[in-house]
């Protein structure tokens, strides 16, 4: 296992710096604090955010793209991507970052691909959206990209519609769409949760290969602790909009924080005792 970079080294290499990020939802005069003072720095690494449903992990990631619902207000002392102050960017400036420098893969490929456009054209379209290239060049680039996410017959797959590809292949196409612009950060929001276990491993190995080859940062959002421990380098555990702790993946099992321990113990293990699983103690504090 690699050594965890020191805080000083992170500061130097920081792709993304977040300090005291707060996201509030205001509706009907009530204010709900969904993210409460999240701070971390992310470099060219595989960083995981884990937490229960509603812990604010997806919302945190979406705020980096400035794509939260209009009723939410985002404030932060600092929200910087490579010295770009995200909160100060206009919508037009954000469009040049979204899908080009920071991209995001969503959970289920069956719903995240447009059903009436050929998958190859969707890959080529992503390239044409951000780069000045001709239709033919985009097509060639899309073919290469499909090839590099281990689709064996890109010429055939290019012409397929989303309903004609399997879940695993769909997610690989999604990866191709999000990687064709050479992003610096890829956010994977539960990107493998909708796939079955064997396909999950395939997609993860492709993801790993691409991240290492391109030297980009990966923000991996998940609730699968075992998977995250094997796949990522550093893990942020979130709860109720706050960061509970940040640990190196190798040290996750050694964590002494009661919440992290609770999460670990509530997951079943093969060969473990067949008694009732412990339930998280959700009491305040």
């Amino acid at each position: 296992m690699k050594a965890v970079p020191s805080a000083a080294a992170e500061e130097m290499d920081g792709l993304l710096r977040v300090k005291n990020l707060r996201i509030n939802f205001n509706s009907n005069g009530r204010t709900v604090e969904a993210v409460r003072g999240v701070s971390f720095t992310m470099g060219r690494e595989k960083l995981a955010i884990v937490g229960e449903s509603g812990s604010g992990k997806s919302l945190t990631a979406r705020s980096f793209l400035k794509l939260v619902q209009p009723i939410a207000t985002v404030t932060a002392e600092r929200l910087e991507f490579r010295n770009i102050d995200i909160l100060r960017q206009t919508e037009k400036e954000m469009r040049r970052i979204r899908g080009s420098r920071i991209t995001m893969v969503m959970q289920d490929p069956r719903y995240s691909l447009n059903p009436v456009i050929k998958v190859g054209d969707q890959v080529a379209g992503a390239a044409r959206l951000h780069q000045r290239i001709s239709r033919g060049e985009a097509r060639k680039k899309a073919m290469q990209m499909l090839n590099s996410v281990h689709i064996r017959d890109p010429e055939r797959v290019y012409e397929l519609y989303p309903h004609e590809v399997s879940g695993g292949m769909g997610q690989r196409v999604m990866l191709a769409i999000m990687l064709i612009t050479d992003p610096e950060i890829l956010i994977a929001d539960e990107a493998t949760s909708a796939l079955d276990v064997t396909v999950q491993l395939q997609v993860l190995s492709i993801l790993d290969e691409q991240v290492r080859m391109r030297g980009m940062g990966l923000l991996f959002i998940s609730h699968d602790l075992n998977l995250v421990q094997r796949f990522c380098e550093r893990i942020i555990v979130m709860r109720r909009g706050e960061i509970v702790e940040t640990v190196a993946a190798a040290d996750l099992r050694k964590s002494t924080h009661p919440y992290t321990r609770g999460l670990l113990e509530s997951a079943p293990r093969i060969g473990g005792p067949r008694t009732d699983l412990p339930v998280l103690n959700r009491a305040e504090g």
Partner: protein, 306 residues
């Protein structure tokens, strides 16, 4: 593809209906052929298609079929009854009604096509934008749509033409401007569903602008239901065009517009019935044809009705 020839005497149908198509072209043609079979199984729809085919053929071949000029007057043959020389008789200026009806197909077809070409895209864009953006934009656009829908279509078209001045171009404009609201409604209801799907979120995530999402992602999906709606509306367009012509607000004399021809024959309706009846019959047959075809198209295109 060198597959062994299927043991069928109708090999083209066999190839088209192959459940395991070898190429995308074959699959597409097969799907079209299946839709055609559904259309053909419905005799009324086939009749509608025949009428429409005949209409197009007549419009293109008008000078060959007509035999007389549609506007040249011949006062020696005023109000002649239907005969071998004048199949549909002649009108008060001695013009051959058969020739005028034939040339009138051109006007009718052009009106229908131009109205559809204006009202279809307009309704589609308004509906998709309203459904996608929601909120204030949706409210404003849909209330405007409601205002248009609150008036009977012919009355609104009448008011518009009166304001713009009579003439065929203004009539077409008026019909198009009163025709888009139903399409906007149809498109909006579909866009409302599509806006919340993950692939629209994914499009936003990959940096698409709102305009690109509406035109490139939402509009193509709303297209099918709008096409069916437009097909069902075509006979209505013909009737309104004829209605405007009848009231003297559409095509101006001497152009052989069917509605105007019916109007000119009013004064002789009891003695020389053919002056009004023949163009009236044409309007009836053509709008019935469009209606039957629209019903057939709906059955063939809409998978829910199979």
């Amino acid at each position: 593809m060198m597959t062994p020839a299927p043991p069928s005497h109708r090999s083209h149908a066999y190839w088209l209906l192959d459940p395991d198509p070898k190429s995308e072209l074959q699959a597409r043609l097969g799907s079209l052929y299946r839709q055609w079979l559904i259309l053909r199984r419905n005799p009324l729809a086939a009749m509608g298609l025949t009428v429409l085919g005949l209409l197009v053929a007549l419009a293109i071949l008008a000078p060959l079929i007509a035999g007389y000029s549609p506007i040249e007057q011949d006062f020696t043959a005023r109000l002649a009854p239907p005969s071998v020389h004048h199949f549909f008789g002649t009108d008060e200026f001695g013009r051959d009604i058969f020739s005028r009806v034939i040339y009138g197909t051109r006007i009718t077809l052009v009106i229908v096509l131009v109205v559809v070409a204006i009202a279809g895209p307009l309704g589609l864009i308004v509906g998709c934008a309203a459904g996608y953006f929601g909120g204030l934009i949706d409210t404003v656009m849909m209330r405007i749509t409601d205002i248009f829908l609150a008036f009977p279509r012919l009355v609104l078209a009448l008011a518009l033409v009166t304001a713009l001045g009579p003439g065929i171009i203004n009539a077409v404009l008026a019909i198009a401007l009163t025709g888009w609201p139903p399409y906007a409604r149809v498109a909006r209801s579909e866009a409302l569903v599509i806006r919340n799907t993950d692939y629209i979120k994914a499009a936003r995530l990959s940096g698409c602008s709102h305009a690109r999402i509406v035109l490139g992602h939402i509009l193509p999906i709303c297209l099918t239901s709008t096409i069916v709606r437009v097909a069902l509306d075509m006979s209505g367009i013909i009737l309104i065009a004829a209605g405007l012509g009848f009231l003297g607000l559409g095509a101006q004399p001497p152009s052989p517009e069917w509605g105007a021809m019916v109007a000119s024959g009013r004064q002789f309706a009891f003695q020389q019935w053919w002056v009004s009846a023949m163009p009236g019959l044409a309007i009836f047959v053509v709008s019935l044809g469009f209606n039957l075809l629209g019903d057939g198209l709906r059955d063939a295109l809409d998978p829910r009705r199979r």
